[in-house]
Symmetry: C2
Subunit: 281 residues, 2 copies
């Protein structure tokens, strides 16, 4: 891929910082401008090789950008994109890294003007950690990035973003924002909710005895609460539907335990094991 | 510790095989007799260094044993211990590795005769894997083993088992069978149930998109269904109580999402994160 001349990253935390590091390490952009509100974080981003230059001004930061990646929390993405669109060059492409897509794409669809376009991305990477000091240049290697084009998306923009993420080591697939949100309700948002209910409902005296199984099952509950609240809020329908399916299965399990119906319980546990085993360890 | 002369292990799967390997590698017993029903499994146990000799006969296998560790599934432990007690030398000590303790200890309490005693153990080790080929001599290193003495337990037996497990690299703590089952309902059995409900309720098309978070949260659901069914059945009260607490917290989370109450949701997620972060990654 022909390298991007100027890449701007708004929000240089774990994801934004990793995009910057990967782009610099892999020479996917000539300049990487890190934009953020906290000078200390921007200094860390430069020191860690996540940006070639930094600024606290969105206006200055995006002034020459060909591609802008918005890495603000999910509930600020729409406003961030609109502000970027006011100041970026005519014809620039804006994307994001938000974990929900339907609301964001719906609010931004075809309303940016000056031939500035938005096309949603969701890199399925990251972790329960956060902050630019956790950023890694190989975070996207072999990972998947979902692109969420709509009917009004230009093919050339899909191609540009595919090449961009590929240049950071990721593979891309495209799907509608609605389908994206259904899937991630099931594979990410619901597990987070359930892990939080497990971690939140244990007593202090029991907690001392938690071992590997509890640690695995609740790991994602370490995620930043401030980041997760807007994820649930912007994918409410999807999460509530996935939760209803989960509760139906949990009720079947509970009923089998209450009735001491070993055959039904074994059948349910075996079906769950089959799904889990299909994906390896 | 003075090594045990003859250690007998009934059931040489993951746990029994690991006990045998650890005892042989650490010279904690002069002879390690592996007892099982399937000759192929016994041959594998000898080949893998999990037993110095093997037999399909309980009567022959325990005839000279000073300590017998019963590693059969939870719903067979009581019968296994009673059978071992018929044939083992007078004065021998029997223990087990069952994940639930209240039912087992209640049924076995002080009824074995001929000065043969049972004292329950639960090594908090193992994994979603199973089978003697997964056995490891270091499985218990740094791990915890719960001993569940009752009022009729002899102090000398607690001391003997403490030394035995310590000689395999583990540390021991003692508590009542009732307290044990409450704790493990919360830290192990409930997480297994919840992981099974997650893994069991996902659609095939969503499953293809599962990534690290889903894999962590559902990992324990790979456990053998035949082993887990009797765990739930013998700790029904504990599991149902832990499940009720979980569902209460999950309902609070759902209500906050339904009402779009970001403050309440953040507060609940933060409380969960605090519990999870207390235990490291």
């Amino acid at each position: 891929m022909k390298p991007i001349d100027t890449l701007a990253i708004l929000g240089v935390g774990l994801l934004g910082g990793s995009i910057g590091r990967a782009a610099i390490e892999r020479k996917a952009a000539r300049k990487v401008v890190g934009i953020g509100r906290r000078p200390a974080m921007l200094a860390a981003a430069e020191r860690l090789g996540a940006a070639t230059e930094t600024t606290t001004s969105i206006e200055m930061g995006v002034a020459e950008a060909d591609l802008i990646v918005v890495c603000t929390p999910v509930d600020r993405i729409v406003d961030s994109v609109r502000e970027v669109a006011r100041f970026c060059p005519e014809g620039a492409l804006i994307t994001d890294v938000g974990s929900t897509k339907r609301e964001i794409v719906r609010q931004l669809g075809g309303k940016l003007g000056r031939n500035v376009r938005f096309l949603g991305s969701h890199p399925v990477a990251g972790s329960e950690k956060s902050g630019v000091d956790q950023a890694r240049g190989d975070l996207f290697e072999g990972q998947r990035v979902i692109l969420t084009p709509t009917r009004s998306t230009k093919k050339a923009d899909v191609e540009l973003l595919k090449r961009f993420w590929k240049s950071l080591g990721a593979e891309t697939i495209a799907m509608s924002p609605e389908r994206h949100d259904q899937i991630f309700a099931a594979v990410s948002h619901l597990p987070h909710l359930v892990a939080a209910a497990l971690a939140g409902s244990i007593s202090a005296s029991d907690l001392k005895h938690a071992a590997a199984g509890w640690l695995d099952t609740t790991r994602v509950a370490s995620g930043d609460a401030e980041l997760w609240t807007p994820i649930f809020s912007t994918n409410r329908d999807g999460v509530l539907k996935a939760l209803a399916r989960f509760e139906k299965t949990l009720t079947l399990l509970r009923d089998a335990i209450e009735r001491d119906d070993g055959k039904a319980l074994t059948r349910l546990l075996t079906a769950a094991k089959r799904n889990r085993d299909a994906l390896g360890s």
